[in-house]
C-alpha cells in the first residue's frame, strides 16, 4: 500500500481527525507497514512497549490475562489506533492483541510518535480525549462490576 493511500486512511482515524494533512503525511512516512496473518500476535500483555499501531485493513481482537485465564475483552476495527497507552505511561502492555484474519497495520515508533505529539498539541489533545473516553468506559464498567459483585455477595451472604 502506498503512502497516499495510508494517509487517506489515517485522515479517517478518529485520533487524527484534528491533525493537518501535512503532519499526517509525515506521520505516515515515519511509520512502517506491518502484515499479520490470522491468529498471529501483534502485541503481548506484559511485554515492553516500543510502538503503537493503526489498523489499516482487517480486524484484531484484544485479550486480557494469560494462559487459560485469557479473555477476549474487545475488538479493533479499521482506522483504530491501539498500543499507545503503554507508550504514554511507559508501562508494559496491558493486553494482548491478535490478528483476526489477515491484518495490515501501520507501526509508529515510540520516540517518533512522542516527538510528533510534543510538536502537535492538537494530536496530543486527541490522544487525551480518546484515553479519557476509554477511562470513562472502564470506570463505568468497574462501577457496574462492583455493584454486580455487591449484589451477588448480598445474595450469598
Amino acid at each position: 500500500m502506498s503512502l497516499s493511500k495510508e494517509v487517506e486512511i489515517l485522515s479517517n482515524t478518529p485520533l487524527f481527525r484534528g491533525v493537518e494533512l501535512a503532519k499526517l503525511k509525515l506521520l505516515a512516512f515515519m511509520s512502517e507497514e506491518r502484515v499479520f496473518h490470522d491468529g498471529e500476535t501483534i502485541m503481548r500483555q506484559g511485554e515492553e512497549a516500543t510502538a503503537a499501531f493503526v489498523l489499516l485493513d482487517g480486524k484484531a481482537d484484544v485479550f486480557v490475562g494469560t494462559g487459560s485465564d485469557e479473555q477476549r475483552v474487545a475488538s479493533i476495527g479499521q482506522n483504530e489506533m491501539f498500543g499507545e497507552m503503554a507508550i504514554l505511561s511507559d508501562m508494559p502492555r496491558s493486553a494482548t492483541v491478535r490478528a483476526s484474519g489477515d491484518v495490515r497495520a501501520l507501526r509508529f515508533d515510540k520516540s517518533a510518535l512522542l516527538q510528533l505529539m510534543r510538536e502537535t498539541p492538537n494530536m496530543a489533545l486527541e490522544v487525551m480525549r480518546s484515553l479519557a473516553n476509554r477511562l470513562e468506559r472502564t470506570t463505568r464498567e468497574l462501577g457496574r462490576a462492583r455493584s454486580d459483585l455487591a449484589l451477588s455477595r448480598g445474595r450469598h451472604g
Partner: protein
C-alpha cells in the same frame, strides 16, 4: 598532594630539573664563544696584518684561510649552540608534559576517591574544567621552574660580582632601583594572584551553572526559563570579564613600571653622570663602563621579574587545585568477611537528615542466607537504608556490626567485593554484554600482558608520571575470584546464566545481527552456509513467510534500489547510496545498462515527494536525515537541484548532479519507504532488465558481493546470510519472532552456540542505548551473580511478586544459595517471600515480621 607548586615540581622532577640546569650551563660558554668569534673576525682576520697566524692546536693560517676558518667555526658553534638549546627545550617540554600528565591523573584519581556527598555536591563539569583547562599552563611552565632562576639569577650574580669587584660604587649604582622593583612587583602581583583565584572560583561556578542548566534542559524549556539561565551565565561571564580585565591591566601596569624603572637608571647615568663628566668630576670611560655593565645586568633582571610573575600566576592556579582536591578519604576501609556472619545496624543514622530522604535510628539484623523485605517509599528513607547496607551512605551515628566485629570507618565499604547493589538506574559500561557481566569481576591487579604496540614505552611513561601502566584493552576479568577456570568457562557460564535470566532470545537476536568477516570466524560462516542450504531445500512455511529470499529474476521489495540493480550487497555496510553514485565504475555499468537517465528521474521523483512532506510542514530537521536519503544539511542543495530540474529539465543538470539524484534513488527500499515509485510494474521490469545486463557484463565489482546461494556475504548480518535473503520489513513484529523460529534449526546444526556467543560479544551502543531497561537490569543481575556475592540488595528492581521477578530471584538463590537477600519495595506484597519484613516510613525503620500472620487473621 604536594601543598605548593615548587614542591610538586621538585619532588616529581628534580633529576630532570638538574639536568636542565646543567645543560643551561653547558650552553653558556657556547653563547660566549659565538659572541667572541665575530670580534676575532673583525679585529684579527680583517684588520689584522700579522699573517700567517698561529692558532690553537698549532695550526697556522694565511688571512683568507683564517677568515674562512673563523667563519666555519662560527657556523658550527651556532649550530652547536642551537642544538643544545633544542635539547634543552625538548627536555623542558617533556618534563612539563610529564608533570602535567601526573597532575591531571592525580586530580582524577582523587575525584574517584572523593567522599560521595562531595561528588553529589559538585558537578562533573567542574572536574573537567580543572583537569583540562586550569592546570594546562603548569605543563608549559614546570620546565623553567628551576632552570630560569638558577640560570638568570646566576648570570645576574656573576655580572654583579664582576662589576662590584671592579668598582663597588658603580655596582651599587647599577642596582639602585632593584629594591623598589623588588618591593612593588610582589605587592601588585599579590593582587593579581587574588584575582586569579577569584577568576578560577568564578569559572568553577560557571561550569556548575552550565552543567545544571543542561541537566535540567527539559525543565528549562518547559518552564520558559531559558532567559533566566542565560542571564545567570551572562552574569558569570561578566564577572569573568571584569576579573580578566583587571588582571591584564595590572599585568601591563607591572610591565610599564618595570620598563620605566629599567630606563630610569640609564637616565640618571646619562644625566647625572654626564653632568659629572662635563664638570670634569668623572672620566668618560668610567661612565661608558657603568652603562655597559648596567645593560648586562638589566637583561637577566628583567627575565627574573617576568619569571616571578608567571610563577606566582601559575602557583595561584596550583593552589586553587590543591584547595579543591586536597581533601580525600585516604583511609582504606578495613576488609571484612561477610560469609556466615550476621550483619546488624544499631541505631544507625545517615548524614542526610530524615527529612531530606535519609534514615535515622535504623536498627536491623540480617542473618546469613536470609531474605528480607524493606518496604516503604524509596525517598522516605528506604534508599538510604539500602545504601547503608551497601556501604555507600555516610553515617552520622550508630553502629554497624558484622558478627561481633564492630565496623568503624566506612561501615560495610570493607565488604564491597561481597556486596551487589542493584537499583533502577543500571550503569552500562562501554563494551559488550560480556564486558558488562564481567564488570563484577574486574581485577584490582595489573593484568601483566598486553598486545598494545608501544607497551614498553607506555609502561615506562606511566612509571615516570605516577600513573597506571595498565592496558584497559587487556582481559581484566579475575576468573579465579568468581570460580571460573578461564575465559571460555566464563563465557559459557555467563551464557547459561543470562539464558536463565530470560535473555537467551536477546543474545540470539543480537548474535544474528552481528556482521562477521569470513576469515575471522570460519565456524560461523560454515554453519551459516549449511543452514542456508538446508533452508533452501526444505523450509517451514511459517519461516518462509517472514523473509524475502534473493531471487535473480524478481524485484525485491526489501532491498534498496542499489542492491536490486547490482544484485549485490556492499562489503562495507556503511556505504551509502551517494558513495555508490560517486563511483565511476558503477556509473559506467549503469550507463551501459541504459538505466542512468531513469535513475535520475527516480531520484527527482523521490526528492519531490520528500520536499512535499518536509517542506509543507514545519518538520523538525532531524526527520530529514532519519530516513537516510540525505545527509545532514544536504537538503538545501537538493532543493536547488530539483528546482532547476523542474524549470529546465533533467538534461540541463550537470552530470554530477544527475548522479546525486541517482544516489538518492539508490537508497529507496520500497517495502520501507512506500513512496509509490515502483507501483508501476513496468518500472520494476526496467530495474530487472538493467540487473540482468549488469550481471551478464560486469563480472566481479570491487567492494560489492553478489547475492549467491553459495557465498557468505561479509557486509550482511548473520541472519541475512543464514536466510539467504532479507527479513521482510512488514513482518518484523510477528511473534514468535524470526529469530525464535530459526532457533530450532540452528540448535540442530550446532550453530546456536556460535550465534549466542557472537551476541554476547557484540558491542553495545554507548550507555547501553540499544538495551531496554529490563535488559539492563538482567545484565546487572548477571553481573551480581558472577561476582559471587554474600549480600545482594535489590532496591526497586525484581522486587515484585510477578512471575518474572520471582523467576529472577529464584535464579539468584539457585546460583548463590547462601546469599543474604534484601529487597526494597514500595509494594508490601513482597513480604510474602521474606523471612522478616521491615517497614520504612519517614526515615524510621520498624520490624514488621508478622504481616503474613496479620493477613491470616484478617
Amino acid at each position: 598532594m604536594e601543598r605548593t607548586l615548587q614542591r610538586f615540581v621538585w619532588k616529581n622532577s628534580w633529576r630532570d630539573q638538574l639536568l636542565i640546569v646543567v645543560l643551561s650551563f653547558i650552553s653558556f660558554p657556547l653563547i660566549l664563544a659565538t659572541l667572541y668569534i665575530p670580534k676575532l673576525i673583525v679585529d684579527d682576520a680583517l684588520r689584522g696584518t700579522d699573517f700567517p697566524v698561529e692558532t690553537l692546536f698549532g695550526l697556522s693560517f694565511e688571512q683568507v684561510e683564517y677568515l674562512l676558518a673563523l667563519c666555519c667555526a662560527l657556523l658550527s658553534l651556532i649550530v652547536l649552540n642551537n642544538g643544545v638549546k633544542y635539547v634543552i627545550n625538548i627536555k623542558k617540554g617533556l618534563t612539563g608534559e610529564r608533570l602535567l600528565r601526573r597532575l591531571r591523573f592525580e586530580i582524577f584519581s582523587r575525584v574517584t576517591r572523593f567522599p560521595l556527598r562531595r561528588l553529589r555536591a559538585s558537578s562533573s563539569g567542574e572536574t573537567v574544567q580543572m583537569i583540562s583547562a586550569e592546570v594546562e599552563p603548569v605543563g608549559g611552565f614546570a620546565g623553567d621552574l628551576v632552570a630560569t632562576p638558577v640560570y638568570q639569577g646566576g648570570q645576574l650574580l656573576v655580572y654583579l660580582g664582576f662589576i662590584i669587584a671592579q668598582d663597588l660604587v658603580l655596582g651599587l649604582a647599577a642596582i639602585i632601583f632593584f629594591p623598589i622593583q623588588g618591593y612593588i612587583v610582589p605587592k601588585v602581583q599579590a593582587i593579581v594572584v587574588a584575582l586569579v583565584q577569584r577568576r578560577i572560583r568564578n569559572v568553577r561556578g560557571m561550569t556548575g551553572d552550565i552543567s545544571e542548566a543542561l541537566e535540567g534542559i527539559e525543565e528549562m524549556r518547559v518552564n520558559s526559563a531559558t532567559r533566566w539561565h542565560l542571564a545567570k551565565i551572562s552574569e558569570r561571564l561578566y564577572v569573568n570579564f571584569k576579573l580578566r580585565y583587571r588582571i591584564f591591566v595590572l599585568k601591563y601596569a607591572i610591565k610599564f613600571a618595570n620598563n620605566v624603572i629599567n630606563h630610569l637608571t640609564p637616565f640618571f647615568f646619562y644625566s647625572i653622570g654626564g653632568y659629572q663628566v662635563i664638570q670634569g668630576n668623572m672620566e668618560l670611560g668610567a661612565l661608558v663602563a657603568i652603562i655597559a655593565a648596567y645593560k648586562d645586568i638589566a637583561a637577566p633582571w628583567k627575565e627574573l621579574l617576568r619569571f616571578y610573575q608567571s610563577f606566582s600566576d601559575i602557583s595561584a592556579r596550583y593552589d586553587a587545585v590543591v584547595e579543591i582536591y586536597a581533601e580525600v578519604d585516604e583511609t582504606v576501609p578495613e576488609r571484612v568477611d561477610l560469609s556466615d556472619r550476621r550483619v546488624t545496624l544499631d541505631s544507625a543514622a545517615s548524614l542526610l537528615p530524615a527529612a531530606a530522604g535519609g534514615a535515622e535510628e535504623v536498627t536491623l539484623a540480617l542473618e546469613p542466607g536470609g531474605t528480607y523485605a524493606l518496604i516503604g517509599d524509596g525517598d522516605q528513607g528506604r534508599h538510604s537504608v539500602m545504601r547503608m547496607l551497601a556501604g555507600l551512605e555516610e553515617l552520622s551515628g550508630g553502629n554497624v556490626h558484622v558478627g561481633d566485629q564492630r565496623l568503624t570507618h566506612g561501615g560495610l565499604a570493607g565488604a564491597w567485593d561481597q556486596i551487589a547493589y542493584l537499583t533502577r538506574r543500571t550503569t552500562i559500561v562501554p563494551g559488550s554484554i560480556r564486558d558488562n557481566v564481567a564488570y563484577g569481576l574486574l581485577s584490582n591487579e595489573t593484568p601483566d600482558e598486553s598486545d598494545a604496540p608501544d607497551w614498553h614505552r607506555r609502561k615506562a611513561e606511566a612509571a615516570l608520571t605516577g600513573a597506571l601502566p595498565d592496558d584497559p584493552e587487556a582481559d581484566w576479568t579475575d576468573y579465579a575470584r568468581g570460580g571460573f577456570e578461564n575465559a571460555q568457562d566464563f563465557d559459557s557460564r555467563a551464557i547459561a546464566l543470562l539464558a536463565d535470566l530470560g535473555m537467551d532470545a536477546d543474545l540470539m537476536a543480537r548474535g544474528l545481527q552481528t556482521r562477521t568477516g569470513s576469515e575471522d570466524t570460519p565456524e560461523i560462516v560454515e554453519a551459516a552456509l549449511k543452514l542456508r542450504a538446508r533452508l533452501a531445500e526444505d523450509a517451514p512455511d511459517d519461516l518462509m513467510n517472514l523473509i524475502e529470499r534473493w531471487d535473480e529474476d524478481a524485484f525485491m521489495e526489501n532491498l534498496s534500489l542499489a542492491e536490486n540493480l547490482f544484485f549485490s550487497a556492499p562489503e562495507d555496510p556503511s556505504m551509502r547510496g551517494a558513495d555508490g553514485a560517486a563511483r565511476e565504475d558503477l556509473r559506467r555499468h549503469l550507463t551501459r545498462a541504459g538505466i542512468d537517465e531513469t535513475l535520475a528521474e527516480f531520484g527527482l521523483e523521490i526528492c519531490e515527494v520528500l520536499f512535499d512532506l518536509f517542506g509543507s510542514s514545519d518538520a523538525p530537521a532531524s526527520f530529514e536525515s532519519r530516513f537516510g536519503f540525505f545527509g545532514r544539511g544536504e537538503m538545501a542543495e537538493f532543493e536547488q537541484i530539483v528546482t532547476r530540474a523542474r524549470k529546465s529539465g533533467l538534461s540541463k543538470l550537470k552530470t554530477d548532479e544527475r548522479w546525486r539524484l541517482a544516489g538518492v534513488a539508490f537508497e529507496l527500499t520500497p517495502a520501507r519507504h512506500r513512496l509509490g515509485i515502483f507501483d508501476d510494474p513496468a518500472r520494476r521490469e526496467r530495474v530487472i532488465e538493467a540487473r540482468r545486463h549488469i550481471l551478464r557484463e560486469a563480472g566481479k565489482i570491487p567492494g560489492l558481493t553478489r547475492f549467491d546461494p553459495k557465498v557468505y556475504l561479509p557486509g550482511l548480518t548473520l541472519i541475512e546470510n543464514i536466510l539467504g535473503g532479507r527479513p521482510r520489513i512488514d513482518r518484523r513484529d510477528v511473534t514468535p519472532s524470526l529469530e525464535a523460529r530459526l532457533e530450532a534449526a540452528m540448535s540442530e546444526l550446532g550453530a546456536r552456540d556460535f550465534v549466542i556467543s557472537a551476541g554476547l560479544h557484540a558491542p553495545l551502543r554507548r550507555g547501553g542505548g540499544d538495551l531496554s531497561q529490563q535488559q539492563k537490569r538482567r545484565i546487572a543481575m548477571a553481573r551480581a551473580i558472577v561476582s559471587g556475592p554474600k549480600l545482594v540488595l535489590l532496591d526497586g528492581v525484581f522486587e515484585g511478586r510477578d512471575d518474572d521477578s520471582d523467576r529472577v530471584r529464584a535464579v539468584l538463590r539457585e546460583n548463590c544459595p547462601d546469599v543474604t537477600l534484601v529487597i526494597g519495595a514500595d509494594d508490601p506484597e513482597i513480604a510474602e517471600v521474606a523471612d522478616e519484613t521491615y517497614l520504612v516510613e519517614n526515615g524510621r525503620v520498624r520490624l514488621h515480621s508478622n504481616i503474613r500472620e496479620e493477613e491470616a487473621t484478617a
